[in-house]
């Protein structure tokens, strides 16, 4: 599956939130630095500006995350921030640590 498959919301790029407790969303297209995407899956949709490039299928931070702060997806902790992550930042193995295995 290539990027761009799910560009259906009036051409908007989508960041999908899987649980209301989450502080990251999954982008359903390649998102470039400074590009806005539509956050879906919460009660009200909202905009989020990517602080950097976030590849298709990867996670974007919904809020500023302090180093050591729990990163939540599916409403569960999938790791902690290994460094401060700005809102709109790309969250992946370079800035996420998980003691349970990664």
């Amino acid at each position: 599956m290539e990027s761009g498959d799910f560009l259906h919301m009036e051409g908007r790029k989508i960041a999908l939130v899987l649980d209301r407790r989450d502080n990251v969303a999954v982008v359903l297209a390649d998102v470039g630095p400074g590009e806005d995407c539509l956050v879906r899956g919460l009660k009200a949709e909202c905009d989020l500006r990517a602080a950097e490039a976030v590849p298709f299928g990867h996670k974007v931070a919904l809020a500023n995350l302090a180093a050591g702060e729990a990163i939540r997806k599916y409403g569960e902790e999938i790791g902690v921030a290994a460094a401060p992550i700005p809102k709109g930042g790309w969250v992946h193995i370079h800035n996420l640590h998980c003691a349970r295995g990664m």
Binding site: G41, K73, I78, H92, I93, G101
Partner: protein
């Protein structure tokens, strides 16, 4: 049609979603005879397998319990056991395990009948009689407490964890809330989420069972693989997973765990080949091979299987509907002939997760009540695979 499905009532109080005849060889030596009998009597299914002899210990136990469990499944109105006559797992033991259900049951033994053709003839006559008697059975309203759903995901891609599995989890929660049962398994794919699963247990005892089962599965994997990275579970996550956006073993396993929903609590852990004593959300202790998982679930009594697949897989189970769900709109567009439900709308924005969960739930009840899954229509039967122990 909330609150019930239309099932075939069985003597022991269970209900079948189907009304087939199972032709089960007790040993691989009887497989061709069993298949020829099933071919003679449409509506019957042969269960070809490579085991039943020269096995010892728990490996033999799993084979025996699995074959007995399949024979007991209420989707089969009657069972024909086909034996060779000298195998380690005796056909009489298989028949005795099935007999308490009170269903139609016959045994044919090749060495007693004389030869292949005589055994096929005798067995075909038995299967024909059972098929005719089964055709008189009628579906009646069955309580949802009598419905057991099995789950397994295979041919997964990144849409599985984002769309199909969470939507199936909502349906699973709905079924359990109505008194029904749902099975989560694939323990090899759940490593890393054991603390979350344990938190969803109804009691401390069940939480302990969950932690013990997953720890034992992880130990078994460690003994089979000796990579340097094993200590940090690196072997459980691949380069492709990283490229797809998964960052930790917990994140990867959560995507699979979501098939079990989030509201329902685990009431019991049981070993593959066994049958659970309780109703509700169940964890089946067994590895993550698609066929071995569904075989264990059918042996536990599941009448319907839900199978999320991102990339698309055609497989099915003899006599048990397998509902395929894809979260990938492209897979549905290309392979829709094998897929029952398109959950891709969750990603394209055409459908919410909750609404898709309700659609899957309605499909489970419709299929349990007689609607055919595509895997059944196309005759797919690959998922019958018995778990072996090394």
């Amino acid at each position: 049609m909330a609150g019930f499905f239309m099932g075939y009532p069985r003597e022991n109080g269970t209900y079948g979603a189907r009304n087939h005849i199972a032709v089960i060889p007790s040993v691989f030596c009887a497989a061709a005879v069993a298949e020829r009998i099933a071919r003679n009597v449409p509506g019957s299914f042969a269960f070809r397998h490579p085991v039943g002899c020269s096995q010892v210990g728990e490996d033999l136990e799993i084979t025996a319990r699995t074959l007995i469990g399949i024979g007991r499944n209420p989707n089969y109105a009657g069972v024909l056991v086909v034996g060779l006559g000298c195998e380690r797992f005796s056909p009489h033991e298989l028949a005795e395990g099935i007999a308490p259900t009170g269903k139609m049951l016959e045994t044919v033994i090749i060495q007693d009948e004389g030869d292949t053709l005589k055994a096929i003839e005798a067995g075909s006559r038995m299967a024909r009689r059972m098929r005719r008697a089964a055709s008189l059975e009628k579906r009646t309203e069955a309580p949802l407490s009598a419905l057991m759903l099995g789950t397994n995901c295979g041919g997964s891609d990144m849409t599985s964890g984002l769309a199909a599995n969470p939507a199936l989890g909502i349906a699973s929660d709905m079924l359990v809330a109505e008194g029904g049962s749902s099975i989560l398994s694939e323990l090899t794919e759940l490593i890393g989420t054991e603390h979350i699963l344990a938190r969803r247990a109804v009691s401390e005892d069940v939480a302990r069972d969950i932690l013990a089962a997953i720890a034992a599965m992880e130990e078994r994997l460690k003994n089979q693989t000796r990579h340097a990275g094993d200590e940090k579970r690196k072997h459980l996550i691949s380069t492709g997973n990283y490229e797809g956006g998964l960052s930790s073993v917990v994140e990867k396993s959560l995507g699979g765990m979501k098939k079990s929903g989030s509201r329902a609590r685990f009431v019991e852990v049981f070993k593959t080949g066994g049958a659970p004593a309780k109703k509700g959300l169940l964890l089946m202790d067994g590895p993550g091979h698609d066929g071995e998982v569904t075989t264990g679930e059918v042996a536990a009594g599941a009448q319907v299987i839900c199978f999320p697949t991102g990339r698309g897989t055609p497989t099915g189970f003899p006599g048990v509907p397998v509902i395929k769900i894809t979260g990938n709109p492209r897979t549905f567009a290309r392979m829709g002939g094998n897929i029952d439900i398109n959950a891709g709308g969750i990603l394209t924005g055409e459908c919410g997760l909750e609404a898709m969960g309700r659609e899957i739930y309605a499909e489970i009840l419709a299929v349990a009540s007689g609607k055919l899954s595509r895997a059944e229509i196309l005759g797919h039967d690959e998922q019958f695979c018995i778990t072996r122990l090394p």
